[in-house]
Amino acid sequence: MIFTNLKMTGFKSFAEPEHISIDEGMTGIVGPNGCGKSNIVESLRWLMGESSAKSMRGGELEDIIFAGSASRPSRNFAEVTLTLDNTEKKGSAAQFADDDLEITRRIERGKGSSFKINGKAVRARDVQLLFADMATGSRSSGIVSQGKVGALINAKPVERRNLLEEAA
């Protein structure tokens, strides 16, 4: 499975629909402090099934919905969509006939979140397993959030081993 595109709307500071195309090699994301770079990282982790609001700097999961700013009122929902190229149909992706998979997570105020794969409702667990099958997921070693390197350095030896096991 190849990751090809990440789209978000209403997610944290991304009030309007925005997307980032995920191409081969290395893609850099730049911008001033507070412009939204880490929010992009968190949108992918949330899509992969992250259920801890605290690990995304929030108090509750609804904190990820655009809360409004000086220039605009808050929104009522947040939606993130990841597009995957499934032409190879390997592993747990073989269950899907389509060449492209669109995985969507959506949350509405007061309603909780829901997952879809190519428009069909699925459970959080199905999405988490799909990613785990690709050796990835919101807690995998390949997703290094801001400050995580420092946390690994300062962790006690037992916590450090747990950090790695979460990943391995």
Partner: protein
């Protein structure tokens, strides 16, 4: 359970020693499991000796040396089970230019070997210069983020204006 843990630990250790040498252009490092009746309760200790320096526990190294060593460990775990995507959020913050260059070279090599696609959030000019493409995130309208494709010159002006 215990045997699988020790086997996976040995594999991570092998990758770790190799990545450390390539990130530090020399020196040596190793992982050890602390004393515990049950290896499943053991902690992970990191010993490292950058080129020309004595072997020390991770805590005695400099800020940048600690970060580079931790990155060697993170990618050692990654290589035991590579995934199609890898996202790094400002991991190069404490590194000087030489270490940043070696780190980006390592990412490039991993990308070639495993086909992993990397997304690298950075403020570091040298990292930007080594990326295959750049996206800039802006807040023209206060509190509202937008994403645009940028080239290196625009990116350099970008990170400077808020």
């Amino acid at each position: 359970g215990r045997e699988r843990l020790l086997k996976s630990f040995a594999e991570v250790n092998r990758y770790f020693e190799t990545l450390f040498k390539s990130l530090f252009n020399g020196g040596s490092a190793e992982l050890t499991l602390t004393e515990a009746d049950d290896p499943l309760d053991a902690g992970l200790e990191i010993l490292a000796s950058p080129p020309g320096k004595k072997l020390q526990s991770l805590s005695l190294l400099s800020g940048g040396e600690q970060a580079l060593t931790a990155l060697a460990l993170i990618f050692a775990v990654f290589l035991t089970n590579p995934s199609p995507i890898c996202i790094l959020d400002e991991v190069d913050a404490p590194l000087d230019d030489t270490n940043v260059a070696r780190f980006c070279d390592m990412l490039g090599q991993i990308a070639e070997e495993t086909g992993t696609r990397f997304i690298v959030v950075t403020h570091h000019r040298l990292t930007m210069a080594k990326m295959d493409r750049l996206y800039g995130v802006t807040m023209e309208q206060k509190g509202v983020s937008r994403i645009v494709s940028v080239d290196l010159q625009t990116a350099e002006r970008f990170k400077e204006s808020a």
